[in-house]
Subunit: 340 residues, 2 copies
């Protein structure tokens, strides 16, 4: 375990992405996104994921030089092509566009195809909330979720999230529509943990409470047909609206290769003045806190972790992660980045 100052990691990520061929402004954005999620201690969805991104560049899955280009637009809605760039860059691009469109039309909708994994929803929806908008983002990936009565995986686990500003911390949800996402399930399985019986089935389709057996089997959507129906809406709004991939469409066949995302933003002071909006959004949170003692409002854990990290001023980086990051630094094709 090594303590790395926040700004040191930010500079390291910026240099690393540039050294692997990325544009400087994309590198700065990636550094913001990875340090932001790391401050919130999102585990698998923070700095722990960066070596995988560099691997994806190495393997040609991500093109770090990709430029996002417009496909079609109509009033407050737009579609874009990510040209196999980093998912984080595409996702932030469409959220910015959704906010700009919402500034003009009250609501904005932007979708992108040929993208890649965007880490988690938090960075994009927090960006929107920081600008005073409600931000909602949906992602479509390959089928990793089943349904009771069905064999195997049918549909994506539909990562999604939203944030909205209040007078205090934003409310922020960052989830997928399976009972449990792949990454926390993997951690639980590695630790020999168990899961509630309704989370899914083992590889033979039998009920299980073993995280390891579920990992090898099929996860179910929240509320079964309800979560499945919501995941299907996500497929429509991302895959169909972006004219990108749907369900299991050829991972390697253009035009349907890659992941798709959709961002929606709403102007909070469109129908009332900003103060009225903030008072009402605050009232919503306050009334919930008053009803439930110790009730967890979406985002509570993230803001607490963020404050703790900022107080400490450093990240605690495990030795194996440090080694992976330093390998990425040493092997960069354009220039060598100083190791952490």
């Amino acid at each position: 375990m090594k303590k790395i100052p926040i700004e040191t990691l930010r500079t390291f990520i910026t240099d690393l992405w540039t050294a692997w061929g990325g544009r400087r402004e994309d590198a700065a954005l990636l550094a913001d996104i990875y340090t932001g999620n790391s401050k919130r201690r999102m585990g698998h969805h923070d700095i722990h994921n960066l070596p995988q991104r560099i691997d994806a560049v190495k393997n040609g899955v991500i093109d770090p030089k990709a430029e996002i280009t417009p496909v079609a637009s109509y009033g407050a809605i737009e579609s874009w092509d990510g040209h196999s760039g980093a998912g984080e860059i595409s996702a932030m691009h469409i959220m910015k566009r959704a906010c700009d469109l919402a500034e003009e039309h009250g609501i904005g909708f932007a979708t992108v195809r040929h993208s890649n994994h965007y880490l988690s929803s938090a960075p994009y929806v927090c960006y929107a909330a920081d600008r005073g908008f409600v931000g909602l983002i949906l992602a479509k990936a390959g089928p990793t979720m089943g349904m009771p009565g069905q064999k195997g995986n049918l549909i994506g686990q539909s990562p999604m999230g939203y944030a909205f500003p209040t007078g205090l911390d934003p409310v922020m949800l960052d989830i997928c529509l399976a009972y449990i996402a792949y990454e926390p399930l993997k951690l639980l399985a590695d630790a020999g943990g168990s899961v509630p019986i309704h989370y899914g089935v083992d590889r033979d389709g039998n009920p299980t409470t073993s995280a390891a057996e579920l990992l090898a089997g099929t996860k179910y959507p929240i509320g079964e047909h309800k979560g499945f129906g919501l995941a299907l809406l996500s497929e429509l709004l991302t895959g169909v609206f972006s004219y990108g991939a749907i369900l299991d469409e050829g991972e390697n066949d253009r035009p349907y290769r890659g992941m798709t995302h959709t961002a929606i933003a709403l102007k909070t002071d469109a129908l009332m003045d900003r103060e009225t909006y903030r008072n009402r959004a605050d009232e919503l949170v306050k009334r919930l806190r008053a009803r439930g003692e110790g009730l967890h409002i979406p985002g509570d854990g993230s803001w607490e972790a963020e404050r703790k990290t900022e107080e400490a001023g450093v990240f605690q980086i495990e030795d194996d992660l440090l080694e992976k990051l330093n390998d990425c630094a040493k092997n960069a094709p354009y220039f060598t980045v100083p190791v952490l």
Copy 2:
């Protein structure tokens, strides 16, 4: 049990609403909504609910003469005041507005406060899909849903639904965000049925598989904190954006009395031509059907029931429902409606 021809019931409902003081055009719309849901055999959310609506008129909860008035608008988003009219009328009004706004801006968002129960999401989202739009509707009602670790009810069960057109039947989801809605739970409880253990707790906060004990206790949201987070988004988009009631705010205190709804529509041929959209939406459904044998696509059950009812040409009305409907007809204040 009595067989009532479809058109006879439609005329009866139109006359009944008019005889209770409603405008003729509202009465025709209500008749469409109630016969439509009855064709789809939605049980508690069809003709079975009409006597409750008439009771609400009698008790002054619903004003059948209410006119919906504009509150605020900005580009593609609008808010309206339902002035305590029927929820069905308000909900269809905002969905129509959302579609009109989407025709102009690609996406449309309309919200209404001071509304009432809107029966179910199906009529409004089907209206949008029939016009070629994706339709999404959200409703906010009083807190009827809890959370693990918390006592009692915290938040509304968030009725919601969507529909989108394909080349064949629309895909249509009509759900709430509790594991089980009040009405099906009531039916199950009356029949002495059981529920999965994760659906909620009894009145003392203990786990239960008894539908009757759950009915007297607290229902949980789908996926616990995930469904709770989605319900909170619904509170924001309906209660806050309409400047209406949030959570448990004074059921009888204006300006926060009544229910709030929000409709969102998306133009399906904004980013691609109509044929391309339909082909891709069809492909989504076809690929799902190919992956899952006998897989239920949202709406399948409704379209099958609708076709069966239309073939039969009649509704089967139970004696006790018939008696209630005829009582409403006989006691109407403006004129007496011929009984069924």
